[in-house]
Symmetry: C2
Subunit: 200 residues, 2 copies
């Protein structure tokens, strides 16, 4: 059975960079947005749409009238969201079957549970996450610290809802991970090199 490392991460914690560098250090495959591209190819939906629906729980995406009246639009939308999740799960299983890999996000810890993945969750204090986001924003993306905080909280809230909808587990609750890593004030490159030593 291939060795799978899954990375859940708070927005701005450097979790994606951590996962990418960890895979580099270990010379194994790394999957993150590649999965969206593949889902888009197979479902004929746009990458933007897939990105949007894989960060929100399904019933936030269609009107409250669903279930109370016949609403074809909403039915269609719900069906699409479900097929994105199904396609994403299929792709993840194919990749896990192929070789060792690191997968960031996408409920991979849950979807690939039969592979008994090593489940990592990456987090950091809010101030550190704001700083990290500010450093990587372009001039056009610049926000005040207050707006950045709100935006981080929004993304986390969406991720938590999406994760809990599909897995029935609580996103970020240490019970569902093998290791939780605090990246506050730490250099992600060093941290990844450090953890790669554990995983070799």
């Amino acid at each position: 059975m291939n060795r799978i490392i899954t990375i859940g991460r708070e927005f701005g914690s450097g979790g994606r960079e951590f996962g990418r560098r960890l895979a580099e250090e270990l010379h194994i495959e790394y999957y993150d947005r590649e999965i969206i591209t593949e889902v888009a190819k197979r479902t004929k939906l746009t990458e933007e749409y897939i990105h949007m629906v894989t960060e929100q729980r399904p019933h936030a995406l269609f009107p409250i009238t669903v279930g109370r009246s016949i609403n074809l639009m909403a039915d269609q939308s719900f069906y699409m969201v479900q097929s994105v999740y199904a396609e994403q799960s299929r792709i993840l299983r194919e990749l896990a079957e192929k070789s060792d890999c690191v997968v960031v996000g996408r409920c991979a810890d849950y979807i690939l549970r039969d592979w008994e993945p090593f489940r990592v969750f990456v987090y950091a204090e809010m101030e550190s996450r704001i700083r990290r986001c500010q450093e990587r924003s372009t001039a056009e993306e610049k926000l005040s610290d207050k707006d950045m905080r709100r935006s981080i909280q929004d993304v986390d809230r969406s991720r938590a809802k999406y994760y809990s909808f599909y897995t029935g587990q609580k996103w970020g609750d240490k019970e569902y991970y093998d290791l939780c890593i605090n990246t506050t004030n730490r250099d992600i490159k060093e941290l990844a090199a450090w953890f790669a030593r554990l995983m070799r």
Copy 2:
């Protein structure tokens, strides 16, 4: 500045054994119950008493009348509990000043914050903790799984209250730790050897 590793742990998670083995692997000092012995020596209180009062938040130890009527017994008891904490803090700082070490429990992560300790929290699923406790109980200590679960929950509740009373932080909340390690179904000896590689 000496390198300090502090270990918080859920009861039955194997956290104490993890700390002891980690210290062995790293050839550094290990402190746990040794601290109680030293506090006892300095305060002239019994080790049993100190063990009891360092696992419960102070106001659970004296009657509700305190503060409403003059109660010398309770005053005395409160004073003793506070001096045990003060003495324990003093000892921890002396030890941290002396050499690198691993300290298990005792709010060491908070008391030694000026040393910027590496703060580890060790936890496990309840079923795994019950199994671990059953394995290490003697014939006289044997409990049913149901009673063992209750007893584990009681110890954790006391630790949480003690920790939060003195630190103002939430015990076991990953925010207050650098690394959280899930020991469910894992061999503690292997896990400690593995983590020692990180810490070297």
